[in-house]
Symmetry: D2
């Protein structure tokens, strides 16, 4: 039987993320790390022949997983198996000097995390660019805003999109802070004191520091811890998975809202070319991708719980109670978040609005949405505030009841108010208010502009990011 | 590049669980389900040729994942792809009649869950049998019980083991209740009303019920829902993953305690034959497997959070926002729980106690542990309770301070008390109390017997289960 | 400044639950426990004067929280403070003999849990009775079932309600299993060996067992552990909070669906008499209570995470790392679940359906919902299955597009099909199918009956429970 | 019966945090907010008499909770009740103009969050200052570092403390980023379009913006959203509670490690003056406070799950499904985190190390900890690496076995190696290595200095913060 695949990686994640977390990809990262250590050690005076380094470099891409696994079944030690494999390939024994397993694995795993974060940063920016484009496209498209899922006041579809976009901007800020402050464990030895590297360099602490600096430069990670144990603090993983969950929040709220709009047929996530709805029910346009985005966020929340299970649970200088958790949580959280972006970017490409249905909804609710304005005008025209409120409420409730009973098919609130002497406004005046209100979504349009400006700040800072296009999704 | 494997399945879970959840295994289950439906439909009068059924049966084990995936890329519908593949293999078009996708997938996934639960039930019983054997082995081995991680009163190692065993017994009860009340969705159609099966049988509801009963018998699941939508209630998944987390709790507490004991060298999880400790530090016996058990529980807690993300979130008759979550959560939770049992059973096989170190610890603390008894005897001998308490406390604190300062190497509390006139007991009497106390772990021994009896109830009920032996772990 | 109140207790929970978990209520439970222990100890031969017991009984309801808190600030030990208070009130020193703090607190807290579970069991049954009444009321009210939040097939509103009711039935089963298997820690002493009670009874283990049995009878909890440490296994708390979360799942899905229906004005949670909508927007009927039910479930999921943080984390015989967690999690989870029931029962009392709007929705979608039936009839009439599907799909998609563009206002799919020669059915025939289908919600009606029968099993088993009425909610 | 108190607030949190979240405190914040809005509205031209503003200001501290609650029972609307109360006290009707409830509540709740974050930032800095002092105090105190909870290599106690301190530094960075980027909702109206404020100012958007700017200045929160709905994005709450959990991680790992050390009697959390251990077992020093710190982190993880339940679940422009959750989660998470700091600061004040026990442990393990060094020296002296490893392992394992069997009482590994001809080092040489190693904790000491420097950066930036002293804890 073939190996059971990782469903998040294989069905949803992009190749770029898979490359980082695949067994092959990881092994190459490890080998590059060992080579970087060797080079630095040599430069700092250790007796490592250039020829050995060359030999390692020449075979670093020869990854034979089966051979490594066979070695692990004998040694029962995964790092040892990988050392032996690499050395046998190169025909030398110069890697891993003065290192403990965690000197290798922690740093390489952090590199995987860091590089994945950079990829997600770029996809976030691409997502914001698309959100911005959609917000601008529908900047002026008046829709009936809903609170408690019922009609409340007018807004525009563009502004609704910008609202969820601004949520994502907040998460991007957090992501960016995380990448800029991301801190690597470094070469710290078995309990964090660098004892073995110090022995190797005959007590020369300066050389050990120079070695570590050189390695950090190789990794390209901005910060390095001073004090760690066998492991770096697991709250860094909590911070990481927390940011991934945060990133999924804006898209998830957007998707939930699009599912609601699809239920009213005011918008839909659209279809891929050639795709049809359910075979048995061809009229159906199911919000499959939006639902999937919501599913990804649920998944991320679970990995966040795993991360909280590790943070604050370090015993002394550490152990491997976190090991199996991190083998699952870290790659899978990145696959899920990456799959979320692939899916959400596709939604943004394919989504559609149905202006005629939107307009029908507006028509239906607009008189209700204008009641605060009507009241203000009535007050200006001399009616007492409480009196005006009472009359308007009376007619509004009656109208809504008649509509629900289908005794009327069209919202005739304005007519009722015009006929009521207690309100000194005639139908013409009331209709004029309505027409004015129809175009009045407050500051919705200018808010969209403000969003565009914020997005532009990021796209100009990371100009390559915005053009990313998602792969084809299942 | 090869597919990225599911690390929980490939590194930790047993073949039995992998078989249930593998793509191949699932496809065979689906095909068997379709065949069972066809047979029942035929029996109830639908015109399905026996030859077609035979043809399907003859090819049901021919699983070509690549071919199915190629079809899915065209149809963009996983179930449709699998229907076509099976029909083309058989050369007939008789499966899936009157069925909607969820009629297939929900029932088959529930079957996977149900069968996995039965496997875990058996492994739980095997675990209890091993815990019982260890509890009996060390039923009388006096150890220093600890509360707040410091010495408190005597107990026996057997009783400590039985204590964690009894926690597992509680989880087994819940697991057993779940299996006995496990409820399958059945053939309910697109929104749960069975409309299409009813059409198929020309409105004959009795036949539709008979069909469903027949299918439930095929599945072997004890109960069937009456009212569902497109999906069965996701709180059933919550209940399932909650039980898996529960199952991991006793083993997890046990493992944590064994890690603590290893720190004192009173016990260890042992080594596989030939295994040694850390290569650089050969004296080290790392509690790698215990730590892994704790890791598995952390993982399960994350999947439980995913399950809570689905429960209570059904919109109308359902949708697929749960889909990607369940693709990950269900198999992975079972792999994790199964891997936990494989690991924990191995620990139970290999663990060891170090009676000499235990005895040294007892010696060190015993006088302290006897202070309540000494006080009672002093009171019997006529000293006031408060007075006795004051004196004993004075000497106990002084003794502990001297021990911590290493001004003394041996606990000489009894000597100090014997020399103090305020306590009317001489050294001989005090030593006699100590000797008595040394063997007095209260009802620890009889509690172990009570545990054994409870375990025997389960092993006699499921006699095959107890002999399960774990596979070799990494 | 006044004390900061517990918002869940004070705003949402019922008096019955508050009584169990209030400081005063707990103190009385503790005193009753001490008295029960004294009585049993006396009966088994300990020298405790009847007069002392009478004295304790006479003052047990005199609870002065301030006085107890003042004592705690001196002793820094909560149980000691409560012992002193009770003894001073009674003028005797006979309680807590041979007991450790946890002998008191664990058992009393479990009693609080157990009694709370019984209250929730009764409220669950009351909820099911109301769900059943609503399901019967609308057993035949045809609605458009939705999957993916879009119209799918007909069902009835009663069946939709029964669907969520059946989810709650599953949770009730789990709750009932939990209450029937609920296991109390018992009088086990500081590390679980009963050493001090055994000393008290001069080594007579039978008397110690008799004492414990007598105490368990007092508590009324069905089971008692044999093997525990200082604490009972915290996975029992996990099981408890998991059941509370489970209980909230059916109501939560129901509430979410009612919020969706309110968005379409097909149903609403209703209003309390005299209540109006938003003051500014009088037409609005906000689903505040349904939203609150969803909020309570989110809260419960958080307490479940706390419970998972304790389960599997026992060190040796236990400690108090669980203490602050349980002080928060246990009462608050019960307040939340109880508040959920109070809210949900109110919704069930006040909710309403709007048949005219429902009927308009049915009209709008019914031709689409009948396409599978039309296809079957076309096939019967001689058209090839694939051909029929193609034609129907063509017209269905065109119709849905025209409706979305508001080029038509009424679903005219049947007319289009009647005019298409490829489908050998005329308008009369098609309309006949539609009329038939209008009443055809498959087995929806009989499924409601099945639900009623299951509910009746529970109401007959616990006949008092079903009549519970919620208090007035904020 | 008195109201049920919030146990986190009343038992654990400090007065400063309680003041922010108390009902009284919140009402004053709201009234100040209304007054600030009035003032700004007046300044921008609305007709609000100065006398009215003065009247409101004069009564703003007159908070009568009972009166407000009585009003709420009538209006069933909490904000309305508070408006009426304030207006009746002032004898005017000028507050809340053009505002919706959320314009009040969101901003005030965010102010509560923001001010609480600043308090926690200061306590974090105070904690770091104390950690630094302890790290310096024990900078050179050699201890046996443990990985997998067993002896690994030497380190110093100061470095171990700095290690957990550096974890807290990471969380402080995140907290600081959060406070600097914290974004308030602003005056955005019912659906986020500012429609009612715009009406109030007769369409003058500039004035509405000026009003909002003025209000943000009043609040003192650094950023304001452009695009929101009825609510600000709930992922901001996720970010907040995530940071609180992060803050608890370093202290929690530290506390867990101190509990482990207490089990070995190498250190303890200490006692308050006058406090003794368990009354029955006076020698016991229970790590009650450390356990409580761990408990607080478990609590925070639960509130984090609640926060994830809200993030990504916004429907359209929002509703109140988050309301009950946030009423619980936000204050309680802050109480818990604040209580954690109060407890942890107390531990840092009272903790103690036991150098004699530490030294005995070092003695016991040191020969094992030096084996890598011995091997290196043997290699230098001409032995093959593999040969040296084999011999050392042979003797190390034999020694550990003899120690565990108590056949020897002292680690005599060096003697065994000296006697073995295969290792060309005599006892003198080996002892010399040991003596050297005894003082060799690698870069432990200089790492402590690096930690001190980082702490100094923060204390110089927030000089008042470092001197905070915790209140007396229970």
């Amino acid at each position: 039987m073939s190996a059971i695949p990782n469903v998040l990686a294989e069905r949803y994640a992009s190749q770029a993320i898979r490359n980082i977390w695949s067994a092959e990809g990881r092994i190459v990262l490890e080998r590059e790390f060992w080579i970087a250590v060797m080079k630095a050690q040599k430069e700092l005076g250790l007796d490592i022949p250039q020829e050995a380094i060359d030999a390692y470099e020449s075979v670093k891409d020869q990854v034979n997983l089966q051979s490594i696994m066979d070695r692990e079944r004998v040694t029962r030690h995964d790092v040892k198996a990988r050392i032996e494999e690499f050395c046998d390939l190169a025909g030398h024994q110069h890697i891993h000097k003065g290192m403990t397993s965690r000197d290798l694995t922690e740093n390489v795993e952090q590199l995987q995390v860091y590089r994945s974060l950079l990829i997600l940063r770029d996809k976030t920016i691409a997502t914001l660019a698309k959100l911005d484009a959609r917000a601008q496209q529908w900047q002026g498209l008046l829709i009936t805003a809903r609170t408690h899922n019922v009609a409340a006041q007018p807004t525009t579809f563009g502004k609704r999109i910008a609202m969820f976009g601004e949520e994502l901007l907040g998460a991007l800020g957090s992501l960016n802070y995380l990448t800029e402050s991301y801190t690597v464990r470094g070469l710290k030895g078995a309990v964090g004191t660098q004892m073995d590297q110090i022995s190797l360099f005959e007590g020369d602490l300066d050389k050990v520091n120079a070695l570590e600096n050189s390695i950090c430069k190789h990794l390209g990670i901005p910060e390095v811890y001073d004090n760690v144990g066998q492991v770096y603090p697991r709250s860094l993983d909590l911070r990481t998975v927390s940011v991934l969950t945060d990133l999924a929040s804006g898209p998830s709220s957007f998707s939930r809202t699009l599912r609601l709009m699809a239920g009213h047929e005011t918008a839909s996530e659209g279809f891929a070319k050639g795709q049809t709805g359910s075979s048995a029910m061809p009229h159906k346009m199911n919000s499959r991708s939006c639902e999937r985005v919501n599913g990804f966020q649920t998944i991320l929340k679970g990995y966040l719980t795993m991360a909280t299970g590790l943070a604050g649970d370090q015993w002394n200088e550490g152990d491997v109670s976190c090991s199996v958790v991190r083998r699952v949580m870290l790659p899978d959280a990145f696959y899920a978040c990456d799959g979320m972006f692939e899916t959400f970017l596709t939604i943004l490409n394919q989504m559609d609005a149905y202006p005629a249905v939107i307009e029908a909804e507006n028509e239906h609710y607009l008189p209700f949405l204008m009641t605060t304005t009507i009241m203000m005008e009535a007050v200006k025209a001399g009616v007492g505030r409480e009196a005006a409120h009472k009359v308007i409420k009376e007619h509004a409730v009656a109208t809504v009841n008649d509509l629900r009973a289908r005794e009327i098919n069209k919202n005739d609130l304005l007519g009722r108010l015009a006929e009521d002497d207690r309100i000194p406004l005639n139908l013409e005046q009331l209709n004029a208010l309505l027409e004015e209100g129809r175009e009045n979504a407050g500051s919705a349009r200018s808010q969209v502009d403000a969003f565009s400006k914020k997005v532009a700040d990021w796209t100009s800072r990371f100009p390559d990011a915005q053009n990313y296009e998602p792969g084809s999704i299942l």
